[in-house]
């Protein structure tokens, strides 16, 4: 049974999500709070344990992203989910980079909410075609930039007989997505469901779902490594 913490400022919506969790036999409502401060306090309490964080982004005293980061730092095994009104790509991608492993629409039915949480714990993360397209587009742009940097680095190395300076810095980008993950993302971007992709790619649905969840984790790590790389490049670290 997975313990769920709900962070939502709207009381009715919080009760709705809390009720949806409580109704599911495989889930247990660990707590429900309405602000960042309350969430931090709840998470800081060592007696509180949590497996799934369900948080809204727009909170009265801050962003749900702060709650996600705080939760991940205190409870590394906890899997955060974002409550999103529209599941739009900007908010979702920002959440993913903060450590979220999925999102739930506010207008989802109680059964859908519980099922999404259970699916995520089982290894499946939701992703929209728009987000898949955005991730692919960013990944391809990074690849082009890395190729250009490698080319320039090779020229510099040829001139100075030294190592290409950008080769190490872009290594995380080049290794971010496997070929299979790229294929899965491309099919999602074209509108195919997990089941259809599994059939087209001769994979199991679970494998497809795992690819997406791995992708979420990679995006989060990549986001952090990018930040470190940029900070190093700018001399901040």
């Amino acid at each position: 049974m997975w313990r769920v913490l709900v962070v939502e400022d709207d009381a009715e919506m919080r009760d709705f999500f809390a009720g949806s969790v409580a109704r599911c036999a495989d889930l247990a409502l660990a707590g429900s709070v309405g602000t960042v401060a309350e969430a931090r306090a709840w998470l800081d309490d060592a007696s509180n344990l949590v497996d799934v964080l369900l948080t809204d982004l727009g909170l009265p005293d801050g962003s749900g992203l702060e709650v996600i980061r705080h939760c991940v730092s205190l409870h590394p095994r906890c899997e955060p989910l974002v409550i999103s009104m529209f599941g739009d790509e900007d908010n979702v991608l920002t959440s993913i980079e903060a450590g979220a492993l999925g999102y739930i629409h506010k207008d989802a039915t109680p059964d859908d909410i519980a099922q999404t949480i259970l699916d995520m714990r089982a290894g499946a993360s939701p992703i929209s075609p728009m987000i898949a397209r955005r991730v692919l587009s960013k990944y391809r742009a990074d690849q082009v930039n890395a190729a250009n940097a490698a080319s320039i680095g090779a020229e510099v190395a040829a001139d100075s007989a030294g190592p290409a300076p950008d080769a190490a810095g872009n290594a995380p980008t080049r290794q971010l997505l496997s070929t299979r993950e790229q294929e899965v993302l491309a099919h999602i971007a074209r509108g195919f469901s997990y089941a259809e992709i599994a059939r087209l790619q001769s994979l199991s649905v679970h494998t497809v779902q795992s690819h997406i969840k791995n992708l979420y984790a990679k995006l989060s790590v990549h986001s952090r490594s990018e930040a470190v790389f940029e900070a190093t490049r700018m001399g901040l670290i």
Partner: protein, 626 residues
């Protein structure tokens, strides 16, 4: 004492003094005697009549017979204590125009022809070696000299001395009349070459704004080249032309040098726009023609006064011009160039007039041309002016380039600001367009659905499911509207994929199984954000119709690339709907929406099959509902 004799003695004294300094120094070391002959027994022949008499040296034939050529024999007798064993030399500063030199019957040297003077003219000082054994105790030095009209023919003083002393006496004359002239010619040639190169390579902006070449460089260059010819005449004893014509050429070279110098000065001083310039040019041309005539008369037809008069006319012209230059240079505000030029021209004119007097009016055997040396002063000042002008023009060019760069930078900045302004306008227009689109979406989508829900609730006739359906439609429209903000223009694959993502939960809720057959489609040109949003609306409405009216359990969505564009097909297994009714209701709105956005939409509906065709630009979008 006349002025002529005074000048003559001064010049002679100077040269002898210069010659005797080393001579006296060497005499102390040399053993043999030094003899300087200042008189001679002469046999002078004019037009076949020969007279004999004692003459003083130097003897200038032009003074006694200015318009007649002829030849003379000078005999110098002298005795020595004993025949010398060492080599001796004869130093003769001037002998000519042609000559034979005998000592005790031995021919020591000869040049030219005594009776014909059309090929050679001895102008240079002579150092004639006297071989040992020729000199005796009693000696006769016999010099036979042929003299042409107006060429300073005759014999100067003669010095006999041991060779070292004779050479020492010869060197000053050689330096002044050979080496000095060669250096002047080389100097003038260099200045002329520099001026010519500058004229060929340096463009100048004229007063009318056109770009041409700077005449100052050309005038200065040609003047110096003319001077090279003039100076060459003083050292060339065997010129490339017959002597009379070479002399004509030399006279014209002098005219060329002086005329081009005047034009050079006019350009430098800035008199180029003066109304008197054409008259001056004409007069210079007349001077040239007169010079040609005078030179021919003097050299070819043997009437020297013609050339003397012409030299006088030339000197007068330049005297007046130099006075005008001096007057201008003395004015307040006159530039350094003007003052330097005035000084140089004045010095040259004065030297020229002195030369004229000594060579033509009152000729002497030792007459020399001071103008050759004073012309160096003009050459130096001309070179200085040319270099200052070049430097000034270069600075102006740099200044212009700097101004041009500055102008280009200003223009670039203005252009950048203009581009920035245009970008801001375009951005503002895009924002305005986006605001309009969102407002239209809110009006057509969310606003319309919420209004419908309110009316449904107010009427009390609608069921809870119907109100829920309306509100879900509203929320879906809102989500699609937000998604449309990120749709790449023309990317129908993304549009369809997103539509499925948003509407599939509702299809499932309606019990409709979805079959997806969408190929990877090329972006369609001409479908901008607005058109994409309209297409999204139309497809949403089509799916809504299937969900609400078709009573289907399966829906197949197809999309293929065609030659015309993209074909989108919706296939369901429902009962279909009445085309007439549809055209009057929802499908009528679809057609209007397509037309309003520039898309062409045709629709065919019959039981079990309804077809939409939508065209955008050259691409045709076929949306068929069967």
């Amino acid at each position: 004492m006349s002025l002529r004799h005074w000048c003559h003695r001064c010049w002679l004294g100077l040269v002898l003094w210069l010659a005797l300094i080393p001579l006296m120094a060497l005499t102390a070391q040399a053993q043999g005697p030094t003899l300087i002959f200042q008189t001679a027994q002469a046999e002078i022949t004019v037009q076949g009549q020969t007279t004999q008499r004692q003459v003083s040296l130097p003897y200038l034939r032009d003074r006694e017979h200015p318009a007649q050529s002829g030849w003379m024999v000078f005999e110098l007798r002298f005795s020595l204590a004993a025949p010398p064993l060492e080599p001796y030399g004869l130093t003769i500063p001037k002998i000519g125009n042609g000559y034979l030199v005998y000592l005790n019957g031995v021919l020591l040297d000869r040049f030219g022809d005594l009776t014909r003077h059309d090929r050679a003219d001895a102008k240079l000082p002579r150092l004639i070696a006297v071989p040992p054994g020729v000199l005796q105790s009693t000696n006769l030095l016999r010099l036979m000299v042929g003299a042409d009209v107006g060429r300073q023919g005759g014999l100067s003083t003669v010095t006999l001395a041991p060779m070292e002393l004779a050479r020492a006496a010869y060197v000053p004359f050689w330096r002044w009349r050979v080496l000095g002239m060669q250096m002047v010619a080389i100097f003038s040639a260099l200045i002329g070459l520099i001026g010519l190169l500058l004229w060929l390579t340096q463009p100048a902006v004229r007063a009318d704004g056109t770009v041409g070449r700077d005449a100052v460089y050309l005038y200065g260059s040609l003047a110096e080249f003319c001077w090279v010819f003039r100076v060459a005449d003083s050292v060339l004893e065997s010129p490339p032309l017959p002597l009379p014509w070479w002399s004509v050429w030399s006279a014209l070279s002098l005219w060329g040098w002086s005329s081009l110098t005047v034009l050079f000065c006019i350009e430098v001083v800035g008199w180029g726009k003066s109304g008197r310039l054409p008259a001056m040019r004409r007069w210079l041309g007349v001077l040239g023609l007169l010079g040609l005539g005078a030179a021919v008369a003097a050299r070819v037809y043997g009437w020297p006064p013609a050339l003397t008069v012409w030299y006088g006319l030339l000197g007068l012209t330049f005297l007046l011009f130099s006075l005008a230059l001096v007057w201008q240079a003395l004015q307040r505000g006159a530039g350094l160039n003007s003052r330097l030029l005035a000084f140089a021209i004045l010095v040259n004119v004065l030297m020229g007039l002195i030369d004229l007097y000594q060579l033509r009016v009152n000729p002497s055997m030792d007459g020399r041309t001071s103008l050759y040396y004073s012309s160096v002063l003009f050459g130096l000042i001309a070179a200085l002016i040319v270099l200052r002008r070049f430097s000034s023009v270069s600075r102006q060019a740099q200044h212009l380039m700097s101004n041009l760069n500055s102008l280009v930078q200003h223009k670039e900045q203005a252009l950048s600001i203009s581009y920035q302004r245009l970008e801001n306008i375009a951005r503002e227009q895009a924002r305005s367009g986006e605001r309009s689109r969102i407002l239209r979406d809110m009006h057509d989508g969310v606003g319309s659905h919420i209004s419908t829900a309110i009316r449904q609730l107010q009427s009390g006739r609608a069921s809870g499911d119907e109100v829920l359906q309306t509100l879900r439609d509203s929320l879906d429209q809102l989500k699609l509207s937000i998604d449309a903000m990120h749709l790449p223009p023309g990317d129908i694959t993304a549009l369809l994929a997103n539509l499925r993502y948003r509407l599939e939960p509702r299809l499932k809720a309606c019990g409709i199984e979805l079959e997806w057959a969408v190929d990877e489609l090329e972006p369609v040109a001409g479908l901008d954000a607005g058109a994409m949003r309209q297409l999204q609306f139309m497809l949403f409405e089509a799916i809504s119709n299937v969900m609400q009216h078709a009573q289907a359990s399966q829906l197949r969505i197809e999309a293929q690339q065609t030659a015309q564009g993209v074909c989108i097909g919706f296939v369901d297994n429902g009962s279909g709907f009445d085309a007439d009714w549809a055209s009057k209701q929802a499908l009528k709105a679809l057609r209007a929406r397509a037309q309003a956005t520039g898309l062409q939409c045709t629709m065919l509906s019959q039981p079990g099959r309804t077809v939409f065709e939508i065209a955008a630009g050259r691409a045709v979008l076929s949306a068929s509902i069967v």
